[in-house]
Structures are given as C-alpha cells and as structure tokens.
C-alpha cells in the first residue's frame, strides 16, 4: 500500500522539476525540489511506495528526463493519470517508472488515500474499489519488464 498525492490537469515538467535545478550534477541533488511550485512539502512528505495521481495531460512541456527521474528517485511507485503527454510517457517507461492510464481514479480519490497497484494484472485497489487500467503497448511493456531502455540495450548488446 502507498499514499496518493494528487495533482491536477496539464501538470507540466517545469512544475515537476524547475529549470534552475536541471543542471545540478545528479538527480539526487535535484529531487528535494520536486513539485516545488505546487507543493513545497511534497519531497519531504512522499515516501517510497507512494503514488502520484493526476488529471489529463500529465508531464506536458519540456522533454527533460529529470522529471520522471526525480519522481523515481523519491520512490514514487507509479504515476496514474487520465492521460500523459507523449515525451514524459516515453521517458518514464525508459527509466523504469510505471505510468498508468486510468480515466476514473483521479475523480474518485483524494490526496492521502491509500492504494495498491498490481502491475501484472493492471489492477488498482483504492478505497475498497477495484480499478482496471489501460495496458501499455507491447513494445513499451517489454522495455518496462526489462527494467528500462538501458537494461534492454545492455541485453541486446550482450
């Protein structure tokens, strides 16, 4: 089980991690600034195994891979949104952060709610209710299964 942290519609990657931190040498040095403009306490409140839940078009804007990377580094287990912007979606899978489409969870959950996720079967359990989520395209599921694109590349080249 993990807790839900809810964010709204069109959350852009500048909100996830702002420009002024992107050139910091490592993701670990950036992660305490995650979602700083929306919730200054997010990075200190979130614990490994928690979830980010959002409305439409999560991760729009810049292609900065730092956005999914800081979420993963803070231990966010998955992002569940009504829809994702294209580059963020691809980046998240590439680094092994599950991104899951559910059209209803956002409307039926609140920040602080507990939920669990069964990735293999695409089932979310929250507030005593089951939600099935949209499957990843096979190509992307294969990348995620191998732990991300670099792990997959290392296997190809082995």
């Amino acid at each position: 089980m993990g807790r839900i942290f809810k964010f709204g519609k069109d959350v852009d990657t500048d909100q996830i991690i702002a420009s002024q931190y992107l050139l910091f040498p490592t993701i670990d040095e950036m992660k305490s600034h995650t979602f700083e403009s929306l919730d200054t306490e997010f990075a200190s409140k979130v614990t490994p195994g928690d979830f980010v839940v959002a409305d439409e078009n999560f991760g729009c804007g810049s292609s900065r891979e730092q956005a999914p990377s800081v979420l993963k580094a803070l231990g966010v287990k998955a992002v569940i949104a009504k829809s994702f912007a294209r580059i963020f979606y691809r980046n998240a899978i590439n680094i092994g952060l599950p991104v899951i489409v559910s059209k209803v969870l956002y409307d039926e959950s609140s920040s602080g709610d507990e939920m669990s996720l069964d990735l293999d079967h695409g089932i979310i359990l929250a507030n005593g209710k089951e939600y099935s989520c949209t499957k990843l395209p096979a190509k992307m599921q294969a990348i995620l299964d191998q732990g991300g694109l670099i792990a997959s590349l290392n296997k190809e080249e082995a």
Binding site: D10, D12, D14, Q15, A18, S19, Q20, L22, L23, F24, P25, T26, I27, E36, S37, L38, E56, N57, C60, G61, S62, S63, R64, E65, Q66, P68, S69, S83, A85, R86, I87, R90, N91, N94, I95, P137, K139, G148, L149, I150, L153, N154, E157, A158
Partner: protein, 417 residues
C-alpha cells in the same frame, strides 16, 4: 492507400516501402542534437550504465550549449565542462555561444526528408524545412547515440490548410497561438501537425519555424510543412540540399482537417499559466509588466528583431521596466549589428544579451521575482517558468512585446501610431 508526409519520412528512415499510423518502426536517425539541459546526465549514463559504451556514428551527433551560456554557477560550469570534454574526446560537433540549439540546427544541419532526434521538446521546429524532428529524453538519446537507431510509433496527422495571408501587424506567432488555443494543450498529443495550402507561401522560413516550433505546446510529436521554393532558397543559401522531398498524397488519411483563413487571425496573448490560455491581445490591454523579452528559438530571428526595432526606434523603454533583446544565433546577432538594429535597441534602453535561451527557461538570466510579470516571445508561460514560482508570464508576438516594453503595460503596436 496514400501516405502522409510523416509516414513517408518514417518509411524511408525505416527502409520500408510503406507504413501507416499505428505501426511501430525501427528507424535510422539522420542527426541527434543535444543541449546543456540534459547532456551531462546522458554522459553519466554512457559512462556508468552501459555494458559496452560506444558511439554508432559521431558525425550524426550535434551538441550545443545554449540554455545557460555563459555559465551562471560552478555547478553549471561543471556540467558544461563535462559536455565539452566528452565532445572533444569523441569528435562530436560542439557549439557554445553560437545560438539557441534549434536555430543553429536550422542554419547548419536540417535538410528536408531527414528524421532527427533532439533532446529538447522544441525539436519539432525542423518541420519548417520538411524534416521530422522530435523531442526525446536522455535515455532515448543515449540509445540512439549507441545504436544509430530508435523505435517510433507512426503518428496520425492533423492537417491544417492555410489560406490567404496574415494582415499587417499580425504575425506567425499570433497564428500558432490561435491554433493552440483552438485545439488545446493536448489537442495534438502523439500526432503530427502538418501545414499546407496556398497560405504557406505567404510565410517566410522564419515564420514557419515560429509555427512548427510551438506545436509541441499542443502535444504534437512533430510539425511538418511542405517544402516549396521559399524553403529551397533558404536551404541553398545555407549551402545544403534535400535528403528527400515529400508531401502527403491526396488520398492520405488525416485524423482531422482544419481550414484556416490567415486574414482572420488577430494579435493574440497567451495568459498565465498555460500556452492554450489565449485571448485576443485587446482583452489583455493595460496589464502592468516588469520585464519584456524579445528572443528565443521561437521568435529571436532577424525578422523579429526588425519588427521590434521599427516599433521602438526613437522611443524609450518604460521607466522601471527591463527589456531584454536576445538574438537567437551568432549569425542573427551579426546581421542585426550590420543593420543597425542593436543600436536602436540600446539607444531605447534595452538590454542586449548574447545568443542563448535567456529568460525563456527561467534559469539562464533575466529571471523575474515574486509577483512580477513578464511579457515574452519565448515558448512557454508555465507557472514559475521565468523565475519565481509566484510570477506571471504572458506570451505574445515581437510587436506586442516591444510595444508593451515601451508603455510598461500590455499594448499592441497599432496603439502607438
């Protein structure tokens, strides 16, 4: 069945005769561009995470320091040094101080028919020359660097048929902001925005870059424009020729088709904090500004500087307002100097900076403080994009930005006449 322009470019890059939206193709890339926003992380992954680190073909890599040039802190300097040293050791084309990455790519590399990855979302600008440019993160970039290839889901295409010409005092930026307002911030998610029609010939290459560059703000995977004499003249004047010339077949399938009468477009402002939050500029008049910015890969070309200079010549920037003028490349800076434009801006009290991303990305220079308002020709107006998280960014054309710098509040250029 007919194919779209995007399908033809992808088919060629994949070495197949045909492909259609929804297919997944493995493509060979023509160029891979990366800038200082993420390259330091790519290098770390290259050095630490790869079993067999190597570069497929260094001649296809272009690395450009533009986001924070010159460096603003020791941390930035360290990231730049890492990038510079790696480029030198691996024979990668490397630029710093040359200009904003997409402008440099347009001036020196992009050719019609190419498929280009850029580790920057505004790579979709390359469609102005009929190339399929798309933004990726550093992991996709690293994979492409090592293998020379990547995979793509062949996107659907939304077609925009442009008709007629823009009125005097209305610019390409007003056109694309109008379109984004119409289809919304995810209206083209995963799709291509293709522009064609008789109205295209009324748009210069600079205008076309402005239009294509901003398509990612509607979620587009890329933007594409048919290559005509205007694009070919630009290409020839920069010493290059096409890889291939494609246009969509008459029976190609488009997910949506829009017809746009260019003469109906009016000056537009995108209000905080979303690019699709557009209103006619007339509805935002009088909003007090603290800073104005003329520059960026979207609107820092010689044509934009000429528009600004003509408006501000003989006038002065408003009291307590900063007006940043940032040519998008060295080539443009030089030309602006030769044409006397920089003197006009300087005499009017503007701050003229070196070519870089400037305040368009809120970390380089000219950032705004708590509660301050910026009017900008930059690419985005997200919350905190230009500095403090509680600040405000309005997007507008070079003309509206310059007129606003003069009065200290949102103003359209025709009001100064």
């Amino acid at each position: 069945m007919g194919m779209t322009m995007a399908e033809k470019i992808i088919a060629m890059a994949a070495g197949v005769k045909e492909t259609k939206a929804g297919d997944i193709q493995t493509v060979t890339l023509d160029y891979m561009m990366s800038n200082d926003g993420t390259t330091h992380l790519t290098i770390d992954m290259y050095n630490n995470d790869l079993k067999n680190p190597h570069i497929n073909d260094p001649s296809k890599l272009v690395w450009i320091v533009d986001h924070n040039i010159p460096a603003d802190s020791p941390k930035t300097a360290a990231s730049h040094k890492k990038m510079r040293d790696f480029a030198r050791e691996n024979n990668i084309d490397f630029y710093e101080g040359e200009g904003v990455c997409h402008q440099v790519m347009m001036e020196k590399y992009v050719c019609p028919g190419q498929l280009i990855f850029g580790a920057d979302s505004h790579t979709c600008a390359y469609g102005a020359l009929g190339a399929f440019g798309t933004g990726v993160g550093c992991t996709d970039y690293l994979y492409a660097m090592v293998t020379g290839t990547s995979w793509l889901l062949v996107p659907e295409t939304i077609r925009f048929n442009l008709h007629g010409a823009l009125k005097e005092g209305v610019y390409a930026r007003d056109l694309i902001l109008t379109i984004i307002g119409k289809i919304s911030a995810n209206g083209a998610n995963y799709k291509v925005m293709e522009f064609a029609g008789d109205g295209l010939k009324s748009l210069s290459v600079s205008d076309r870059i402005s239009v294509c560059n901003l398509c990612v703000e509607a979620g587009a995977k890329t933007a594409l424009m048919e290559v005509d004499d205007i694009a070919m003249d630009y290409l020839k004047s920069h010493g290059r020729s096409p890889k291939a010339l494609f246009k969509s077949d008459d029976d190609a399938i488009f997910s949506e088709v829009y017809d746009i009468d260019l003469s109906e477009i009016e000056p537009i402002v995108a209000k905080p904090h979303f690019v699709d939050n557009v209103v006619p500029a007339k509805e935002s008049l009088g909003v007090k500004i603290d800073e104005a910015f003329l520059g960026s890969c979207n609107n820092g070309r010689i044509e934009d500087l000429r528009v600004g200079a003509q408006i501000i010549k003989g006038k002065h920037v408003a009291d307590k307002v900063r007006f940043l003028v940032v040519p998008a490349s060295r080539e443009i800076y030089n030309q602006a100097m030769e044409e006397g434009l920089l003197s006009i801006f300087l005499e009017a009290g503007a701050i003229v900076m070196n070519p870089n991303c400037s305040v368009c990305w809120g970390s380089c220079q000219g950032v705004i403080g708590e509660g301050e308002t910026l009017i900008s020709t930059g690419t985005r107006n997200f919350k905190g994009r230009a500095g403090h998280k509680d600040s405000f960014v309005y997007l507008a054309s070079a003309a509206t930005v310059t007129a606003s710098a003069i009065t200290g509040e949102i103003t359209t250029a025709d009001m100064l006449k």
